[in-house]
Symmetry: C2
Subunit: 195 residues, 2 copies
């Protein structure tokens, strides 16, 4: 399972020595989780991050009315965790579970700290990931304010075409911040326009 991470790092052009890789791997835990299985529940403290080798996870909240709101999807080669709970140590307001049967690599906090200390180039690499995520979040904030549901949906399938294929529609709706019914209507009106 760990070769997947190797391959990912090569693609990201992060060159680590054999020793560095082995050291990193020694800090990771492999795990398979089934669709619907939880990695984090509201109220728990996030103590680790996950790298998705296969499958897909999601980070989401559930509001007082019982509606869920997906903050992030994590398909292959994505990292996922509740950063707030992880960083500050407070009980999480979010859930993380598997959207599909998945294979993941877990890295806990002490492991991460050791790793960053020992391999500074990795620290830089993770910082870059954080940077990109922040850029993406800002775009998403802007999009929810300035674009209609149609536009956001079209943008979603353009940005994440493979996700749009594999995910159930109600989850895409949840990510877009609309109801499944609305998404269904959006799709209908779009397909009309195309013909």
């Amino acid at each position: 399972m760990k070769e997947a991470l190797c391959k990912y790092l090569r693609e990201k052009k992060l060159d680590l020595t054999e020793d560095q890789m082995i050291f990193w791997f020694s800090l990771l835990t492999e795990r398979k989780i089934k669709r619907g299985e939880f990695l984090l529940r509201e109220g728990e403290v996030e103590k680790r991050g996950s790298f998705v080798v296969k499958g897909c996870l999601r980070l989401y909240s559930i509001d007082e009315k019982g509606r869920d709101h997906i903050i992030q999807f994590a398909p292959e080669n994505w990292w996922i965790r509740d950063m707030e709970s992880y960083a500050i140590g407070t009980p999480s307001n979010y859930f993380i579970d598997a959207v599909e049967d998945s294979e993941i690599l877990l890295m806990d906090k002490t492991a991460e700290e050791k790793l960053m200390k020992k391999i500074p180039s990795l620290a830089l690499f993770f910082q870059n990931l954080l940077f990109r995520r922040q850029i993406a979040s800002q775009k998403r904030i802007n999009a929810t304010m300035s674009a209609t549901a149609d536009e956001r949906y079209l943008d979603f399938i353009k940005t994440y075409p493979s996700l749009a294929m594999r995910l159930p529609q109600h989850m895409i709706a949840s990510y877009l911040g609309i109801t499944p019914e609305s998404l269904s209507r959006v799709r209908k009106s779009i397909s009309k326009k195309k013909n």
Copy 2:
């Protein structure tokens, strides 16, 4: 003007030596900008970040219909820039201007790189800022999906009470992603409830 930065760093418990401070200051440019003056316009490339000593800046987009959407406010002791344009070097989709007459310290990209290399503890400090911003962005994304305009407004004045006092209402509306008219009604209905 630079003492303001010193004070800020002390509050943040970032201990730098005299030499380090002097080195940093040598890389900064002081500037005063008047209300309404631009620091960045759509189409330009962001080449620097600003630390606000006094006053308030804002980062916002303008959509095709001419409506503006405020992504971030930066009052005293905040850093502001269009990270996307800054990091990737692409033309910005945003504007940055002064909400009030302001005093700022500018740091350009080469300065930042030099600084991070020379003072690693500062790199860590900035990384922490980025972390916190990401957490805040995630919360904001979640809020726009799960909370009503009323709730988001109440949350805003709770989280940024001093900003809520100084800023014109239409800007708060723009930040919340609603129209000024709607905010006016939201405020009305809230004040009714209180009596």
